[in-house]
């Protein structure tokens, strides 16, 4: 019997309950209307009320049962005399058990380990029993809830308010899901970071200048010297906060000014979506654009101006392409904040005899500055968290240099490198990825927080 059956049964019961309750409410309505009154709630609400009382307990139970019954089945099988012959060693034992389970549920019919055969029968029996129990309880819960709710239906029963409350509870749960997920992510990050700092001193990590973890080395070897993340922080800042912004800020700002102040509505209607397409290009596409097209160009350029160390993976290539990727962020934030400057301000300047560009330079940009700055901070936080472009174009060498033609590595690159290796999860090299992630998370969190509060204050100023 498939585990989907209890759920289907619950749904069928719910439908029946809905129809029955609505029918009952219709009948009630007929009665009270004869007496010149009316129902408190429309018949549909009575239907939903009963259906919810059937579906919610039944479905909650099926979910809970789906989570617990495999454990019960296993306990039952292990209590069987056939299980006494199982090897004690965990890995082999688990393999045999899961093979027996697969055979019993019919998802496979070939068997590799012959000793699994003996356990098929106990498994099949236990599964049948527990599925039957689960289905019965589901149906009983649904029936119980439905009958309880159905008996409460009266002409003056406030079904509508109750259904509304249930809707609200459902929406609340949906929004809590996202919050709990975030909390869970942060929690795991904190936990693993803490484990990392048991190996490596936080100060050595934050201020050290040599980065060279070896996931194959003995866990405690070189922990004092090879986990200095400063080169990664510098690489991240150099690419994401300096070079990318040198590209994105002027281009983004100027396109925002053109689009809000100079473009005719037709031009704006075409150009704005085209610009926003940039934001929709997958970052991996930017990555190979950077690695295959831009990086060689920049290497040749560097060599032609006499930079002998110009490499085929360079900070400049990654930074420039990242800057291009960020343009839509800067321009749409700048666009919004320029548009939020009241028309009266522009008129005031124009009426003084200022030209369009004087008005933009002396009035609009200063007035929109807080919003523009906030947009830039969001763009920076996006840029330093960006991974694909730097993985493909910036290189893996951890070093501190100001030469943009050399290759350099970033925090995100090293997170990828540390987690995709062969290292085990209690080795400091692997754990360092979490500490790096934590730093990145805290920095972007701060940037976003500051940016959003700046935007908020700026919005209030013009209301």
């Amino acid at each position: 019997m498939s585990p989907a059956i209890p759920i289907l049964l619950a749904l069928a019961l719910g439908l029946i309950g809905w129809l029955a309750a609505r029918g009952r409410a219709w009948a009630l309505r007929k009665q009270v209307r004869a007496a010149g009154k009316d129902l408190h709630s429309l018949p549909n609400y009575h239907g939903w009320y009963v259906a919810l009382w059937i579906l919610v307990p039944a479905l909650l139970f099926s979910v809970a049962w789906a989570a617990t019954s495999p454990g019960l089945v296993l306990a039952h099988v292990l209590a069987d005399p056939a299980a006494a012959k199982l090897p004690a060693f965990g890995f082999e034992r688990d393999a045999i058990l899961s093979e027996a389970r697969a055979l019993a549920s019919g998802s496979t019919d070939a068997v590799f380990n012959q000793s699994a055969r003996a356990l098929v029968e106990p498994f099949r029996e236990a599964m049948q029993r527990y599925t039957l129990i689960g289905t019965l309880v589901t149906v009983l819960l649904g029936l119980g809830g439905g009958i309880f709710a159905f008996l409460r239906l009266r002409p003056d029963f406030t079904a509508r308010t109750r259904v509304e409350r249930a809707v609200m509870a459902g929406l609340l749960l949906a929004s809590l899901a996202a919050i709990f997920t975030t909390a869970g992510i942060v929690g795991s990050l904190v936990f693993e970071t803490f484990r990392f700092f048991q190996f490596v001193n936080p100060l050595d990590f934050l201020l050290g200048t040599h980065w060279g973890p070896d996931s194959m080395a003995a866990p405690m070897q070189g922990v004092e010297t090879s986990y200095g993340a400063l080169p990664l922080f510098w690489g991240t800042a150099f690419i994401g906060a300096i070079i990318a912004m040198l590209v994105a800020i002027p281009l983004g700002l100027m396109s925002a000014i053109f689009l809000t102040q100079y473009a005719t509505p037709t031009v704006r209607r075409w150009m704005k979506p085209l610009l926003e397409i940039l934001a929709g290009v997958p970052t991996v596409v930017y990555g190979y654009f950077a690695a295959l097209t831009v990086a060689p160009l920049i290497r040749d350029l560097g060599q032609s101006i006499g930079v002998t160390s110009a490499s085929s993976e360079s900070v400049l290539a990654a930074g420039v392409v990242m800057g291009i990727m960020i343009i839509p962020f800067v321009s749409s934030m700048a666009d919004d904040s320029i548009a939020a400057v009241p028309q009266a301000m522009r008129d005031g300047s124009l009426a003084m005899g200022a030209t369009k560009s004087e008005t933009i330079r002396r009035v609009l940009l200063p007035a929109a500055l807080p919003g523009i700055v906030a947009g830039i901070m969001l763009a920076v936080s996006r840029a330093i968290g960006e991974t694909m472009i730097v993985v493909m174009a910036a290189g893996a060498t951890a070093r501190i240099t100001a030469n943009p033609f050399e290759s350099m590595t970033t925090v995100t690159y090293q997170i990828v490198a540390m987690l995709t290796g062969e290292g085990s999860f209690d080795h400091p090299a692997t754990l360092s990825a979490f500490a790096l992630g934590m730093v990145l998370f805290l920095v972007t969190l701060c940037l976003n927080f500051i940016a959003l509060s700046v935007v908020k204050r700026f919005r209030e100023a013009y209301e």
């Binding site: 008129d347 030209t355 004087e358 002396r362 200063p366």
Partner: protein
């Protein structure tokens, strides 16, 4: 046809003849002719949407900033057609200043607000000269005593009435010939309104002033000439005293006695 009262012959600073303003296909102003003199405050009155603000904005070409707006006819400032292609809008707006409905100081210091116009038009050659212009303008706008100790503070931190006087100071800092005021008191309380009205009386004679207002009492108090607009046409134009006591047109009479508006 517009009903002109017999007016004393004056030298018109602004002479408008047969002016129509269109927003796209919609005609907002229909064939308006009027002379505006230096000596008087001229009030434009009329119900909402009658086109009085549109006509006011035509006088310094502020309608140019609205897409699809178009002006026909002729508006002469000192005998020079302001819609001729040779006319420099920047020059025109330096000569015809404007004060808006809602006070719109720039988010800069009080000093910088007033210095804005002189700076963009290069009216001063030294800091001392600029200081003088700022002080003189604030004095004329009746704001100097209130702000002289805090010129570096933001103009937007002032009260609404002070902001509006700051905007007037900003407008007169470039020594315009005409000041257009588009319902300058509609966002202000009665006390601030009284101050602005006093100020208008003081500025009269130095600049030609045109004021658009919703308040007929205000028109009666501050102006010597009144034009009544209705549905895009100028219905009647004459001495303020006559318009309010002895209107020639039925529609004017209905409006000022509060029958519609």
């Amino acid at each position: 046809m517009t009903n002109f009262h017999d007016l004393d012959p004056v030298d018109a600073r602004i002479a408008a003849r047969g002016v129509s303003v269109y927003y796209g296909d919609k005609r907002a102003i229909d064939n308006v002719s009027i002379d505006i003199s230096d000596e008087y405050v001229t009030a434009f009155i009329g119900p909402s949407g009658c086109g009085k603000s549109t006509f006011l904005r035509a006088l310094n070409r502020m309608n140019d900033t609205i897409a699809g707006a178009r002006v026909e006819g002729e508006i002469k400032l000192d005998g020079q057609d302001i819609y001729k292609s040779g006319m420099d809008v920047v020059q025109l707006r330096a000569r015809v200043g404007m004060v808006f409905q809602k006070p719109n100081p720039f988010p800069k210091s009080i000093y910088e607000n007033v210095a804005y116009g002189p700076r963009i038009h290069g009216l001063s050659t030294s800091k001392a000269e600029l200081d003088q212009i700022v002080e003189r303008s604030l004095k004329r706008a009746g704001l100097w005593e209130e702000v002289k100790d805090r010129l570096a503070e933001s103009g937007t931190a002032l009260s609404g009435g002070q902001q509006q006087r700051l905007c007037i100071a900003r407008a007169i800092a470039v020594e315009p010939e005409v000041i257009l005021m588009d319902e300058p008191c509609s966002a202000l309380d009665p006390i601030a309104t009284a101050k602005i009205e006093e100020l208008i009386a003081e500025l009269r004679g130095r600049y030609a002033i045109v004021i658009v207002t919703h308040s007929m009492q205000q028109a009666a108090r501050v102006s010597q000439r009144t034009a009544f607009f209705h549905l895009g046409k100028m219905v009647e134009y004459g001495k303020t005293s006559e318009i309010f006591t002895n209107p020639r047109e039925e529609r004017t009479k209905d409006y000022i006695t509060g029958r519609y508006g």
